[in-house]
């Protein structure tokens, strides 16, 4: 039978790493969305200023 200390050490360690990797990917996805939103805003702004310059 697996020693209880060994079991706790291994399972808690992998749980911690899994949670950390998951939080990293969530933060990455959130930033990616924000980045795309800001880039599209920037695109709209530059189009607006082009139109204003033409007028």
């Amino acid at each position: 039978m697996l020693n209880k200390y060994l079991f706790v050490a291994f399972s808690a360690l992998w749980l911690l790493f899994f949670i950390y990797a998951w939080s990293l990917s969530r933060r990455q996805a959130r930033l990616q969305n924000e980045l795309e939103e800001l880039k599209s805003k920037q695109g709209v702004r530059s189009q607006e200023s082009d139109v204003a310059n033409q007028k």
């Binding site: 200390y5 060994l6 291994f10 360690l13 702004r45």
Partner: protein, 231 residues
Amino acid sequence: MGKTLPTVHLLVTLAWMLLAFWMIFLYAPQELTMGEVQRIFYIHAPLGWVAGTAYTIVFISSVTYLSKRSPLADDLAHASGEVGFIFCSSLLFTGPLWAKPVWGIWWTWDPRLTLTFVLWLLFVSYLMLRSYVASPGRAATLAAVVGIIGYVDVPIDYMAIRWWRTQHPQPVIAGGEGSGLDPRIFLTFMVCVGAFHCLFSYLLAQRFRLARARREVSALRRSLAPRSSED
């Protein structure tokens, strides 16, 4: 190309970890005096090595940041500080789980344990400084100073079990006369050290990408801000 390298890195890490697991439970022989619980050694000691590597990266990146004011170095230091904190916390968690059945106590304030706890506190203060100082430039400079001054703990922590008689086991690798490991235990240990460094480098790369993306978002926000106030 952008996603190929991280995917390959992740697959290599997973394969290496599986090999390490197989070796820990099926290849390495059972230690005679401690029995099954000694297998915690294969994760506990490599976690310590990785924590030392992480703080060394913080130190080198902090020196680079202060001398060249390179944002890349600052991002690398921050990323290594955060991932190193995870590894150092795991080190402090697995240590007592090995100590209790072997020593009969969870913790003792011997030099090795105390210095490792100080290392953990250094990671915590490094990250707290980065979170609580409002100005990003000032936070980076102060954190770099902590990263450099705190590094003095790493070599002393490494040497603690060589300089003093401690409750913590004496070194079994590079420990001088009388130290050493069974070849199968040594091989398993080295595979585990490699696997944990591979996992660390993967998480570090991901955290570094996050820091770069955050910097890009801040720059874009700043470039849009003056016009937003006119809306």
